[in-house]
Amino acid sequence: MKFTLRIWRQKSPKEWGRFVNYKLDDVSPDMSFLEMLDILNEELITKGDDPIAFDHDCREGICGMCGLVINGIAHGPEQTTTCQLHMRSFKHVDTITIEPWRATAFPVIKDLVVDRTSFDRIIQSGGYISVSTGGVPDANTLPIAKDNADMSMDGAACIGCGACVAACPNGSAMLFTAAKVGHLGLLPQGQPERYDRVLYMVHQMDEEGFGGCTNIGECSAVCPKEISMDFIARMNRDLIKANFIKGDIEKK
C-alpha cells in the first residue's frame, strides 16, 4: 500500500506548528498504525531529518499513552486505540491527516505529543477512596450486587487516553471524570466520599480549562473502551444532589 501522510509538526510548545507531507510506499496492511509511523521515522532518521515525536508505550490498547487524531477522528476510524488500528483500515493511496489531541487543557509538547497531566490533577482532587494501606476488613465482608460491580467495572475500564476530550467540540472532560465518579460511586466503599468527590472533581475539571458538556456524544463514539454517556447522566445527578447537600464548593 502507498500513502500520503499529512502530519502536524511543531518543534516546541511556543513555536507555531504546520502540516508537512510525507510519502510512504510499501506499507503492509498487517502493520499497525504506529508501526507505519516507525517506518517513516526510520526513513527520516536515515535521511538525517528529525523523526516525528508521538506518544506510545504498551501498544496493546491498555496504557492509554498513544492518541492521534486521524483524518479528523480521535484514534481513527475503528473506535480503538491508535496502537490497535491497522493499515488494512485504510484505502490504498489514501491521504491520511495526522494531528495531536487539540484541547486547551492538553498543550502540545512537540509534534504529536501533548501534556495530559490535567487528567492526573482531576484524579488528585478526589478520584480515589481515602483508605491507607493496612487495617481494612476482609474482602468478602462486603457483598456487592453483581450488576453494580459490573457497571462499576464499565467505568473503571477508562484508560485515560483523552480521546473523549479531543473529540468533543467543547474540549470537555466529562466522560473521563464521570467514568471515575461512576466507578467509585457505584461501590459501597465509595459512598462516604461520594458527594465531595463529584464536587471536587468537576471543580478541578473546570479549573484545568476543560469545557462543559452539551450532550453531543462524540466522546463516547470514539472511546476505545466504549464508556457510555450514561455515566455523564449519573454524574450530573450526583452533582445536583451534592450541591444541595454540600453547598457551594467555592466557599469551602
Binding site: D38, P51, H56, D57, E60, K110, T117, T133, P137
Partner: protein
C-alpha cells in the same frame, strides 16, 4: 577491558568489591519467620518519619504501591516515571489475575499450598522464606484492593469470584475481566495521587533515571534526565527504591511496553549491585504470532484462554490445509496427549517449549510456520458462544483486531514470546541490594519466582513488595541512622551528572549510518536465537562472540539525530539499547555457566531420555549473583546457596 569497546569508560564504583552475600533470611518455623522478623526489625518513630526522604523509581504495581504506602506512613517521597502519568506503567497490561490464598472456594487452598506451588513452580530456585512471606501477605492484598474500590469479578451472591489459572489445581485467582493489572494499578495510582495531593509525594513524570548516586558507601540519590527539556539533574534522599520492572525488551520483540528498559537496574549494577540469575526469563505460551519484519512488539493474550481452548497442530509436517479441513484424526492435541493430568494447563515453560518443538518439526501453522492452534470449537459447542464471550470477549475482540480473523469461527494461532524476567538485582530478605540503601522491588528484583513464575503471581509479588514488605523493611534500614547531610551540590552528584551528560553528548555525536532500532533488532535476534527457550553451550558461545561486535559497531555507527535539550525519543532509545547490549552479554554468560535445565530455561545438554528438562540440584542449587567487572570483562560470580527445608526438590512432572 575488551578491544571492542573503544570509547572512554565511565568510572565505576569499586566500593562493593568484597561483599558477602548475606540473605538475612530468618530461621525457625516458616510460619513464624516474617512475624518474628518484623518484631526484630527496628522502627522509625512516627514523628521522625517526616525527617526522611525516599526516592522511588517506577510507578507500577510495586513502585506505585510503595510510594503511596511510604507517604501514608509519613515519609517524604520523590517518585519518578518515564511515562506522562504514573497510571501508564506496564503493570497495566497484565490481564489474567492475581493469586491469593483466601480459600474462598473451599477447595483446599491454604497459605502453605500457595507457598508449596510457588516454590515447586519456580523449579526450586527461589528462597523458601521469601516465598512463604509472599503467600502470607497475598490475602492482605485482596482486602486492600477491595477497600480501594478495585472492581473484582463477583458472583451473583455478591461475593468475590475466583478462577483456576496457569497450572494451579485450586481456584485462587482473583480477576477483573481481562484487565486485572489495569484495575490493580489504578488502585495503587489513586492511592498515589491522593498522597500527591496531600503533598507527601512529589511526582516527576517524563523523567528517566540514568544513574545512581552513592555517597560514603550508601545509595543516596539518582541522576535523571527530564525527557521534555533534556535537563540532567540529581535528586538526593536517605534511601533509593527501584521498582523499574523487567528487562524483557532486551529481545527487542517482547510483550513489554516499548519503553520498558533495564537502564535503572543496569546502571545500579554497574555501581555495585549484584545481578541475580539474569538468564531466567519467562516465555509466555499464548501470544499472537509475528507477522513480519515491521513488527514492533508482541501481544500477549491471557493464558486463562487455555482453560477452555485446546491446543493442537496437524500430525503431518507441511500440512497447509485450513484448520477446518483437517479432520480430527489428523490433529495432534499434543499437550493433552503428553501430559494427561494437566493437559492444556501445564505451566508456561512446558507449554512454550512443546510449541517450539512441534514448530521445529515443521508442523507449525500460519504463514510463518511459527504458530499452533488454540481452538475453542469444543468449548463453544459445550457452553455456547455466549458463555465464551462472557469469559474471553475482550481477548477475542483484541485478537480479531490484530489478525483480522474471528476466533469464534477460526482457531486462534498462538506462539510463545518473552513476557517476564525472573532475574533481576539480587536482594536480601529485606529487599535490599548489595548496595546499602538501595532497595529493589517487583519484577526488578530476582527474589520470589525462582526459575519460572506461575501465572497470576507477578501482580501478587509487585503489590506484596510495595504495600506490605518494603514499607516495614526500609524502616529497619533508616532506623540505623548515621546519615550524613547530603545535598544536590555534593561533588559526587556533580560527577555523576557530568558522566551522564557526557554519555548523551557521545551518543549524539557518533553520527553513524544505522538507526537505534536496527541495532536493537539485531541484538534481539541474537538473544532470542541463543538465549531464548532452548540453549546450548555452542549457541551461547556464538552469542558471546557476536554481542560485543554489535556493541562495538553501535558505538561507532549509530545515528542519533537531534539534540539533548528537547524531547528526543531517539536519544532515549539509544541510551536504553546501549545498556541492553551490556546486559545481553551478562545473560548469555549466566546461561552458559548454568549447565542444567530448570524452569523456563531449557539446556539442550541437560535433558531426560524423553526430552524433558533435567535439573541438576547437586551442582546448581544456588542463586548466581553477578558482580560487574567492567564492560567486556568477565563478571564475577557469587553464589547464594539455596536450602529447602519444607518443599523437597523433586523433578517436576506434569504427566
Amino acid at each position: 577491558m575488551s578491544e571492542t569497546t573503544t570509547r572512554a569508560e565511565p568510572r565505576t564504583t569499586t566500593e562493593f568489591r568484597n561483599v558477602t552475600l548475606e540473605s538475612r533470611a530468618p530461621s525457625g518455623p516458616i510460619e513464624q519467620r516474617w512475624d518474628q522478623h518484623r518484631f526484630n526489625m527496628k522502627l522509625v518513630n512516627p514523628a521522625n518519619k517526616r525527617k526522611y526522604t525516599i526516592i522511588v523509581v517506577g510507578s507500577g504495581l510495586a513502585g506505585g504501591s510503595a510510594a503511596a504506602t511510604l507517604a501514608e506512613l509519613g515519609y517524604n517521597v520523590l517518585c519518578f516515571c518515564y511515562q506522562d502519568s504514573p497510571r501508564r506503567a506496564h503493570s497495566i497490561a497484565a490481564q489474567g489475575g492475581i493469586n491469593a490464598a483466601k480459600n474462598y472456594q473451599n477447595d483446599g487452598d491454604s497459605i502453605y499450598r500457595l507457598f508449596y506451588d510457588t516454590v515447586k513452580g519456580g523449579d526450586f530456585r527461589s528462597r523458601e522464606s521469601n516465598v512463604y512471606r509472599l503467600s502470607q501477605v497475598s490475602v492482605n492484598i485482596i482486602d486492600q484492593c477491595v477497600a480501594q474500590g478495585v472492581p473484582f469479578a463477583r458472583d451473583y451472591g455478591g461475593l468475590l469470584d475466583n478462577r483456576s489459572f496457569g497450572g494451579a489445581q485450586v481456584s485462587r485467582t482473583f480477576y477483573a475481566r481481562g484487565q486485572t493489572g489495569q484495575q490493580l494499578l489504578l488502585g495503587a495510582y489513586q492511592a498515589l495521587e491522593r498522597q500527591i495531593a496531600a503533598g507527601k509525594v512529589k511526582m516527576f513524570t517524563r523523567s528517566e533515571m540514568l544513574d545512581l548516586v552513592i555517597i560514603n558507601g550508601r545509595a543516596r540519590g539518582i541522576v535523571t534526565r527530564d525527557m521534555v527539556n533534556g535537563k540532567i539533574e540529581s535528586h538526593v534522599a536517605d534511601a533509593v527504591v527501584l521498582g523499574t520492572g523487567g528487562y524483557g525488551n532486551v529481545f527487542y520483540l517482547s510483550t513489554n511496553a516499548k519503553g520498558c528498559n533495564t537502564t535503572a537496574i543496569w546502571r545500579s549494577h554497574r555501581r555495585g549491585a549484584f545481578f541475580a540469575n539474569p538468564c531466567f526469563t519467562q516465555i509466555h505460551p499464548t501470544c499472537i504470532p509475528v507477522t513480519g519484519e515491521h513488527q514492533s512488539k508482541l501481544t500477549l493474550m491471557s493464558e486463562s484462554l487455555r482453560n477452555d481452548g485446546r491446543i493442537w497442530v496437524p500430525k503431518q509436517a507441511g500440512d497447509t490445509r485450513p484448520p477446518h479441513q483437517i479432520p480430527e484424526n489428523e490433529r495432534e492435541y499434543y499437550l493433552e496427549e503428553r501430559y494427561p493430568s494437566f493437559g492444556n494447563l501445564v505451566p508456561r515453560d512446558v507449554a512454550s517449549r512443546n510449541a517450539k518443538q512441534v514448530c521445529d518439526e515443521g508442523r507449525g501453522v500460519g504463514p510463518s510456520g511459527l504458530g499452533v492452534y488454540l481452538d475453542f470449537a469444543d468449548a463453544i459447542n459445550r457452553l455456547g458462544a455466549n458463555v465464551i464471550r462472557q469469559r474471553y470477549g475482550n481477548l477475542f475482540d483484541m485478537y480479531e483486531r490484530i489478525t483480522a480473523e474471528n476466533p469464534y469461527e477460526v482457531p486462534m494461532r498462538i506462539y510463545p514470546a518473552i513476557h517476564y524476567t525472573m532475574g533481576g538485582l539480587w536482594v536480601d530478605y529485606e529487599l535490599q541490594s548489595t548496595i546499602p540503601g538501595l532497595f529493589v522491588i517487583g519484577e526488578a528484583n530476582f527474589s520470589d519466582h525462582g526459575a519460572n513464575r506461575l501465572g497470576a503471581s507477578a501482580l501478587m509479588q509487585g503489590l506484596a513488595d510495595g504495600y506490605f514488605v518494603l514499607p516495614y523493611t526500609i524502616g529497619n534500614y533508616l532506623a540505623q541512622g548515621g546519615f550524613d547531610k547530603v545535598s544536590t551540590d555534593n561533588p559526587v552528584c556533580r560527577e555523576v551528572e557530568a558522566e551522564v551528560a557526557d554519555r548523551m553528548t557521545q551518543l549524539l555525536s557518533i553520527n553513524g549510518k544505522r538507526t537505534v532500532d536496527s541495532f536493537h533488532r539485531e541484538l534481539g535476534k541474537v538473544v532470542w536465537e541463543y538465549c531464548g527457550m532452548s540453549r546450548s553451550a555452542d549457541g551461547l558461545k556464538k552469542a558471546l562472540q557476536r554481542i560485543p561486535e554489535i556493541r562495538a559497531e553501535f558505538w561507532e555507527n549509530v545515528n542519533v539525530p537531534g539534540q539533548n535539550e528537547n524531547l528526543n525519543q531517539s536519544l532515549e532509545k539509544a541510551g536504553r539499547v546501549a545498556d541492553f547490549m551490556e546486559l545481553a552479554e551478562l545473560m548469555c554468560t549466566d546461561a552458559l555457566h548454568r549447565n542444567e535445565s530448570c524452569g523456563g530455561h531449557f539446556r539442550e545438554e541437560s535433558q531426560t531420555p524423553e526430552g524433558e528438562a533435567l535439573r541438576d540440584d547437586a551442582n546448581f542449587s544456588y542463586v548466581a549473583a553477578w558482580q560487574f567487572n567492567g564492560v567486556g570483562n568477565k563478571p564475577i560470580l557469587n553464589k547464594e546457596q539455596l536450602s529447602f527445608e519444607y518443599v523437597h526438590p523433586t523433578q517436576r512432572s506434569y504427566k
